[in-house]
Assembly symmetry: D2
Homo-oligomer: 179 residues x 4
Amino acid sequence: MESARWLQLQRTVRFGDTDAAGVMHFHQLLRWCHEAYEESLERFGIPARHLFPAPTWARPPSQPEAADPGAESPSVALPIVHCSADYLAPMVCGDQLRIHLEPKLQDAGAFSINYRFEPLDPVPAASQPLGEAAAPRPLALACTRHLAIDRHSRRRCDLPTPIRRWLEMSGIGLGVRPL
Amino acid sequence: MESARWLQLQRTVRFGDTDAAGVMHFHQLLRWCHEAYEESLERFGIPARHLFPAPTWARPPSQPEAADPGAESPSVALPIVHCSADYLAPMVCGDQLRIHLEPKLQDAGAFSINYRFEPLDPVPAASQPLGEAAAPRPLALACTRHLAIDRHSRRRCDLPTPIRRWLEMSGIGLGVRPL
Amino acid sequence: MESARWLQLQRTVRFGDTDAAGVMHFHQLLRWCHEAYEESLERFGIPARHLFPAPTWARPPSQPEAADPGAESPSVALPIVHCSADYLAPMVCGDQLRIHLEPKLQDAGAFSINYRFEPLDPVPAASQPLGEAAAPRPLALACTRHLAIDRHSRRRCDLPTPIRRWLEMSGIGLGVRPL
Amino acid sequence: MESARWLQLQRTVRFGDTDAAGVMHFHQLLRWCHEAYEESLERFGIPARHLFPAPTWARPPSQPEAADPGAESPSVALPIVHCSADYLAPMVCGDQLRIHLEPKLQDAGAFSINYRFEPLDPVPAASQPLGEAAAPRPLALACTRHLAIDRHSRRRCDLPTPIRRWLEMSGIGLGVRPL
């Protein structure tokens, strides 16, 4: 089953992502995870300023605050409390990757995201052993776990509505239209 | 005049690019410059492995070395010997940017690239003072200067042919078909 | 029990490590882990060039290769195949941290390192509830797992002798003199 | 003349600072510059929280706000408006560097810092050509320029007193005792 278009992203390994061993340096993968999470929300229709803090003065004159009720700095933070990654094959500069995201509601105030990194153009079927499944072998797997925290009380709280909707729609998957 | 499609790129400011002042942390801009340079070459038709070193063992089975004469690690390095940046306006998480590249041949063994970062959706003309030009005000300007170095002798040498062609075509600009 | 001096490191949270939420951005912790691992080896007496690849031309004239048998690029790579991190409390710019490393031999060709990040100057005992242990509460925990890979055959191999000695000495702990 | 102890710092090139060409990736140098600037202020006696923003909730219980009048988020920002770097020689993993800082007052609301990166243990005099000065050849030079901006009005303002004192003392140099 194909996943929704906001859950399948792409990225290319850049020269600055590599180290002197010639391959992607391990902690860059975690950066890619967060950037993929942000891009997924963006594609789904949630503007960054509804979830990530930014100074109020930075707002351009074309977007007065009155016109955008979600525009003030969000009152709920979504810090990462856990992450992990498994590196299954090296990635080199220029490699084109597909990233599959699998967001999951944990409870009313927490969610996790699983990430699967695959080659964009996997080895063609003809060169694979007989009987092997067509699904490309992942290059890396990763996971992040996020908690909702009220910015003022610094206590756990419920997830904001937009992210809750993103989680629900992502669970349903194929064929669902984003916001 | 519009520039060639490999010289106009886009990028979104991500959360990890910001610092506790709420805006893009200055050295991230230099990372974006190098990534834009790599993406420009890629769009022009120059594979990363023709210019950037990578371990030979990392080659996928679908791309045997014999089939790709440019595939062995490139014999010419193109290190950056100078860079600079001017920050004209703050950028916050979620900002969508247009990046204009202006590559220039310096001599047979050196080139530079100027970068202009602009808002993707600039302030509409109606909100601008009368008589002001329509061109969006840049958010940042940057420059990198690259030398060709022979990997074995460690001496200056001529630029590789693909990058020379990219520089020539970029100078001609609009309407030129890439490789 | 105090741990060996090569297993207790320090670091200060820098401005570029933070994000617009005002706290350390999660993936920086994994960078700190690798840097702590490198510093630990350095303090123990293992030069970086014995374990991490570097171009041979980069050797300074004062260190001719003949004088240093371990100087050629190491034949064994030690890639990270797994990492994880738990974030227990936020860290802000200027925070001074103590990092405890706990390296562990897994088998002849693999090892892991556990990392514990604590405030360098923890909350004084007087301000703590009665009966609470004096050990400072960690701010974060992390783990990396490394495999030994022969650079030429790309197959698993035994750990290099210096890292094996570092693992053994680290297990014995206090009072052991490094190389 | 030797410079003050808060203007001479050290750092080691780490594996994650390198790229697949085997040398320090250019934009890492700008990160090192900012970290050296922060460390210089810290050694001079200016706590990070007096100059760099941080969330108020992050304050540890041992440092109540009342006890520290400079503890609230600083009202003046010091954004970088320009930077540049010259790369004179490659740096590889494990290289130990000395960083010399030369801060300069530009006007009441602006300052710049020049950075010189040298090998910590330069080539011994015996191996140098006759008559050559003993001063080690720099590996890289860099510069950052900072403006004082009032956080509320977003207009230029005067530099905060602590940074002004750091600039004055740095100009006087040797023999001056920090705060």
